[in-house]
């Protein structure tokens, strides 16, 4: 049975961009302000799940051909990799560092290794969240 969900589809087209933007914003505001990889990942993941609910699996898969289990794996690798990176600089495990860099157009920016760690967390959360939802829904 095909339900008439034209309103849902139209709204989602706009809303999903707002959700994804919010997710990215939360992700980058982390480590100094409320936000971070976990929350950013949850918001991004919920945006993706919303796409899956609105459109069917095939359509979304065509545009985002990722195996979300592997996304989660990649996330864990990134997070643990940035954590053990400190060992090679003879600093305690999980140590992070930061510095200010000046770029040609955008000016001075604050770059941190925490961002790599947070990116790992975010990817893990997105991967796990979407995998859980997809495997529940595939059961039918």
């Amino acid at each position: 049975m095909k339900i008439n969900d034209v309103i849902l589809r139209t709204v989602v087209k706009g809303v999903v961009f707002i959700i994804l933007t919010l997710g990215v914003y939360l992700f980058f505001s982390g480590h100094n302000a409320p936000g971070g990889g976990f929350i950013g990942g949850l918001v991004l993941g919920s945006g993706i799940v919303l796409l899956y609910i609105t459109y069917d699996l095939e359509t979304v898969h065509r545009k985002m051909p990722f195996d979300f289990k592997k996304v989660a794996g990649l996330g864990v690798l990134l997070a643990t990799g940035s954590a053990i990176g400190a060992i090679f600089f003879d600093a305690p495990f999980l140590s992070q560092t930061d510095a200010y860099f000046t770029f040609p157009v955008i000016g001075e920016k604050h770059l941190t290794t925490v961002t790599i760690f947070e990116a790992g967390v975010a990817l893990t959360v997105i991967g796990t969240l979407v995998t859980i939802i997809l495997s529940i829904s595939e059961d039918e």
Partner: protein
């Protein structure tokens, strides 16, 4: 600061994730996982020797000093257990290569074993009680998967019970943590010990301690072991061996750490309760082992007897009995792993798990039969083997403090252990075989290798008890004098 300390946790996690990407390359998965575990064993051996020369090791994550940050602490006790656990996992992996089957290997069996060992090692090494909770969860989540992997009806039934009981236990763990944090305002174990000592462990803190006792007893199978026989007898053999060797031991480790470091002051209450619980565990475990008709039941109840026995060492609480408890813990991990591997192999070659329905196994598999005989003697505590030192020292401690009831129970349980295992030996291994030597089902070479390596370790721990005595004695000394541990954390 010693970054080596975190490797037993982080290396298995990283390799496990890499193995996820190598799902189809089974041979590569095997090589990577065994190399990882051997590497971790070597690292923990190096750490153990470093502890002897430099004292307790500490690693403050990203440089946050205790009590503010999370840290890993390596004293002899925890690193001995990490070393034993890593060696056992390496040997169990050897057994898994030839027995677990393609289906398991492609369903992420090796990654989950590595996650399990990461959780186990993390629980042994952490110096922060909330971190202990997290590592418990890592270990439990991996174990949920390993129980259910394979998807037989019996497995799913038992895994449901296993998950439920552990979720309840974890929930109680969180409540206990909340109470503890609410009373002493810290989660660092050494700092908790200081705060509890300052407050003199009043009745409120003792109640919190008892809540922890209940939680860890559920995990260790001390008295609250009703979930254990079912869920330990359904997964594949190698998973059973890993569970029997590692999971309850993490609970025992947590109990010993909690009641020697954090809440040692009100021993009249806490240690008496532990003693009573350990005694009842022994009696109930013995009844189960005697009543068991099939080999799995007998083996799982032997795990419970082992738990009761080790915790008598804690209940008595002298330096001798704790030394004995550590010796027995090492022995029990090795011997229970071997026992479960052997029992699984008996089922594999005979297709039968009821003791009386098999006979004459030793005629077709002489080495296999004698290794079973060896592990039986070791579990009963016959002198040159590994169980002996532990039993003698726990007995010595019990006599020193006049706990004659516990003494009698513990030694009576040894006889029951011997009897229950001898029954399998006489009925299933001795006698005339109905299958001729030519028609026998061959035992894989990898399995034999695992048996022999574990048997050698058991003999080594028994005969070479003197060579590991420096490590064990140092561990017991630290447990008896928590101030050594506390000073290493808070004054270093």
């Amino acid at each position: 600061m010693n970054n080596l300390l975190v490797l037993p946790l982080i290396i298995p996690i990283i390799t496990a994730v890499i193995l996820v990407f190598l799902r189809e390359q089974v041979i590569l998965q095997r090589i990577i996982s065994i190399v990882t575990m051997v590497f971790i064993s070597i690292i923990s051996f190096l750490l153990l020797n470093t502890v002897q020369t430099e004292g307790i090791l500490r690693l403050d994550f990203s440089g946050w000093l205790p009590p503010f940050g999370i840290l890993f602490v390596g004293d002899s006790f925890s690193i001995i257990l990490v070393l034993t656990a890593s060696i056992i996992t390496s040997i169990c992996l050897l057994y898994a290569f030839s027995t677990i089957g393609d289906r398991h290997e492609k369903m992420f069996f090796y990654p989950f074993v590595l996650f399990l060992i990461a959780g186990v090692n993390g629980s042994f090494l952490t110096g922060d009680i909330f971190n202990l909770f997290v590592c418990f969860e890592v270990m439990l989540l991996a174990s949920y998967v390993l129980v259910a992997l394979g998807g037989r009806k019996k497995q799913l039934r038992e895994s449901l019970k296993y998950v439920l009981i552990n979720v309840v236990a974890s929930w109680m763990f969180l409540i206990a943590l909340a109470f503890l944090y609410g009373t002493v305002k810290t989660l660092n174990m050494a700092h908790i010990a200081v705060r509890v000592a300052e407050a003199g462990q009043d009745p409120l803190l003792t109640t919190v301690a008892i809540l922890f006792l209940v939680v860890f007893s559920l995990k260790a199978g001390l008295l609250l072991f009703f979930w254990l026989p079912g869920s330990y007898s359904v997964p594949p053999t190698v998973v059973q061996a890993l569970f029997a060797a590692l999971l309850t031991k993490v609970g025992i480790y947590a109990l010993i750490r909690t009641f020697t470091l954090m809440f040692p002051l009100n021993q009249d209450v806490t240690h008496t309760i532990i003693g009573v619980m350990a005694g009842i565990t022994l009696i109930a475990g013995c009844m189960g082992a005697l009543a068991g008709r099939d080999i799995y039941t007998i083996a799982t109840y032997n795990v419970i007897i082992g738990v009761g026995f080790i915790l008598i060492g804690l209940a008595v609480g002298t330096e001798a009995s704790l030394t004995g408890a550590i010796y027995y813990l090492i022995h029990d991990m090795l011997a229970k792993a071997l026992l479960f591997l052997l029992v699984g192999m008996v089922f594999f070659v005979s297709g039968e798990s009821i003791v009386k329905k098999m006979n004459g196994l030793i005629q077709n598999y002489p080495l296999f039969g004698w290794i079973y005989f060896l592990v039986m003697l070791a579990l009963a505590g016959i002198p040159p083997l590994s169980g002996f030192m532990g039993k003698v020292l726990i007995g010595q401690g019990a006599i020193e403090t006049g706990s004659y009831v516990l003494l009698a129970l513990s030694f009576a349980s040894s006889i029951i252990v011997l009897y229950s295992l001898l029954r399998i030996f006489l009925a299933s291994f001795f006698g005339e075989s109905t299958i001729s030597f030519e028609d026998r089902k061959p035992i894989p070479k990898g399995a034999y290798l695992a048996f022999v390596l574990l048997a050698i370790s058991i003999v080594y721990v028994g005969v070479g008890a003197e060579s590991i005595a420096i490590y064990v004695k140092d561990a017991a000394r630290t447990l008896m004098n928590p101030s050594i541990y506390i000073d290493a954390i808070l004054k270093g």
